[in-house]
Amino acid sequence: MKKFARAVALTMTCALALPVWAQDKPVAGEVKEGSLKGKTLTFVSYGGIYQDGQVAALKEFVDKSGVTLLNDGPTEIAKLKAQVDAGNVTWDVVDTADLPPYVHCGTLFQKLDLSKLDVSKIPPGQVGECSVPAMNYGVVLMYKNETYKDNPPKSWADFFDTEKFPGVRAIDGSGDPTGGLIEQAFKATGGDPKAMTSDDIEKGIQKLRDLGPDTIYWKTGAESQQLAESGEADMVMMWTGRAMTAVKNGAAYTPVWQDWLVVMDQLTIPVGVKDTDAAYALINAYLGANAQAVLTETTSYTPINMDARPKVDEATAAFLTSTPERNAQGYQQNIPFWVKNFDLAAEKWNALLSGN
């Protein structure tokens, strides 16, 4: 009898809990009709075709929920810090680079309540404590066909081998250090990136310094594209979006996919936003398969919903990083390591970039 009673109690609990759970469990891409009528959300990203594409991806959400969507940007963590410090946060959802949500988790960015988001379709390992990915792209090594002809570089090891592969290198000097690149540089010194310590950062940086004074540190994506299109550099470290555009514009360069560096933009909710639930609703809609397909079709960045089926041309498809083959070749930097050593790495990186 006792057993029976327990079974009944259990069933009752489940029966009671299930509908609640089914009702509240969000589904990526879905939003209730008219649920945000009269509300305003400010979405912040990096402008250009990227933010236009994100707005296009959010159109269905805006139409259905009735929310008024404002756009601002470009994202600057310093501006966000000023808002949080002043207790007047006007940015509701912020698109950031890969590391800031980890570095400032809990101080500038809210720890995410994953019961309010459907993250089941996001590629594994990409959901952070304070962020979900906004899109994926890669940093890829592009080499100049004319320079290397029949003996092209095949990996980052060749990038760091200036004897076998002479030529001018161009490196992303647009901002924070690229952890993945320093890991590859450390690997080229014979080290094991998996067992890297903070002292090894300098070894990796030194390897970059050893590439010589001709090395170019480009400041903007446009500059990297220009370097390829004008043939100024023999090996260029490029964002896949820029690499694709350069090739479309006639740059005779070839990507090396082995160990391409996985990079993502992140979506975050700042600490102190006025309507957290509305911000969650926006992100949940953004993660939907349709929204992600639209994003890829308009921006050529890789979708972060594994069910998304964007229709893109051949040149764009060649640089998408979500195929099984690319997934196998990708190299993921050690995020916890770089978050822990963010200041030290940035200091060493700045020293490199200012010629010291």
Binding site: E76, I77, A78, K81, H104, G173, G175, D176, P213, T215, I216, Y217, K219, E223, Q226, S230, G231, E232, D343, A346, N350, A351, L352, L353, S354, G355, N356
Partner: protein, 300 residues
């Protein structure tokens, strides 16, 4: 800065105005009152934020001089600070060499030609500095216009982009109007009859120019040099785009601390160091200039 050829006595109009019955009523308080809008704006947009920067540099993250200790302990910071002043000096010199003859030419040509010369100065001035800098990228890069031309006539290519000379060339072009205009505004007030007068007293033409004309034009040179020098110290976009790692200026390091590392105290300290260094330099230069200035006035 008008281009009318016959405004040799620019003060005449001002004197007329001051003597008008309407303005004379306000005269005792007038000048101070007129400055209040500017003072208000300066207080609001310069003094107040500057005060915050100063306060932060001593208080963020902890009260004390940690940020300044950090600044001077770092070899990178010291090297870049020094480089910033060296580049500013080169740019000022390059601007002066280009601007002085140009401004002189503006005073001796006819009216239409002068208008054309002024337009040549002002039109690039109206374009965004970023656009002009990107144009220099196209000109200076290894496969760029200048090197293609050199190769075309059989000369070896020169390394210009991502070098300090490349940065100086780009900054000089962007800052040239700030040198030309002050020099011209002083030069156009110089009575050119002084030169024939000197010659009639037996001076060689070049001597008359160097001893009479040049000293009279110095106030314009000083004004232009100070403006160009100070603007150079804060340059950011041009060195970032035209320079390489060895030509980064202090503003780039400040940007890094403030925008990417969120060390606002350190960024503030860097700004304060630059500001104080600039003031010191001006304090040293100012008495020198005043001396020359009064000397030239005595000669008149």
């Amino acid at each position: 800065m008008t281009a009318t050829p016959d405004d040799g006595a620019p003060n005449a109009a001002a004197t007329d105005l001051a003597q008008s019955p309407f303005l004379s009523r306000f005269r005792p308080r007038g000048p101070v009152w007129l400055a209040t809008p500017a003072l208000f704006v300066l207080l609001l947009v310069l003094a107040y934020p500057l005060g915050i920067v100063l306060w932060r540099s001593f208080s963020d993250p902890a009260i004390g001089i940690d940020n300044y200790v950090w600044f001077f302990q770092s070899a990178v910071n010291r090297a870049v600070l020094q480089r910033t002043f060296v580049v500013a000096a080169w740019v000022t010199l390059a601007c002066l060499i280009c601007a002085y003859p140009y401004a002189y030419a503006m005073t001796i040509v006819g009216r239409n030609m002068r208008l054309a010369l002024i337009l040549c100065v002002l039109v690039p001035f109206w374009l965004s500095g970023v656009v002009r800098t990107l144009a220099w990228v196209i000109l200076l890069q290894d496969s760029g216009v200048i090197n293609s031309m050199l190769r075309g006539i059989g000369l070896p290519p020169v390394k210009l982009i991502r070098t300090l000379p490349g940065v100086v060339i780009g900054m000089t072009q962007v800052l040239l109007p700030f040198m030309i205009l002050p020099i011209y505004s002083v030069m156009k007030g110089i009575d050119t009859r002084l030169l024939p007068a000197a010659r009639s007293l037996g001076a060689q033409p070049w001597k008359a120019f160097l001893q009479i004309y040049v000293p009279l034009s110095l106030p314009g040179v000083y004004a232009g040099a100070i403006i160009v020098f100070i603007l150079s110290l804060g340059f950011y976009i041009t060195p970032a785009l035209l320079g390489g790692p060895r030509s980064i200026l202090l503003s780039s390091l400040v940007q890094n601390q403030v925008l990417s590392l969120l060390n606002w105290g350190r960024g503030g300290a860097m700004g304060v160091v630059l500001l104080v260094a600039t003031f010191l330099l001006l304090a040293i230069a100012a008495p020198l200039m005043r001396q020359k200035h009064t000397a030239s006035r005595r000669e008149v």
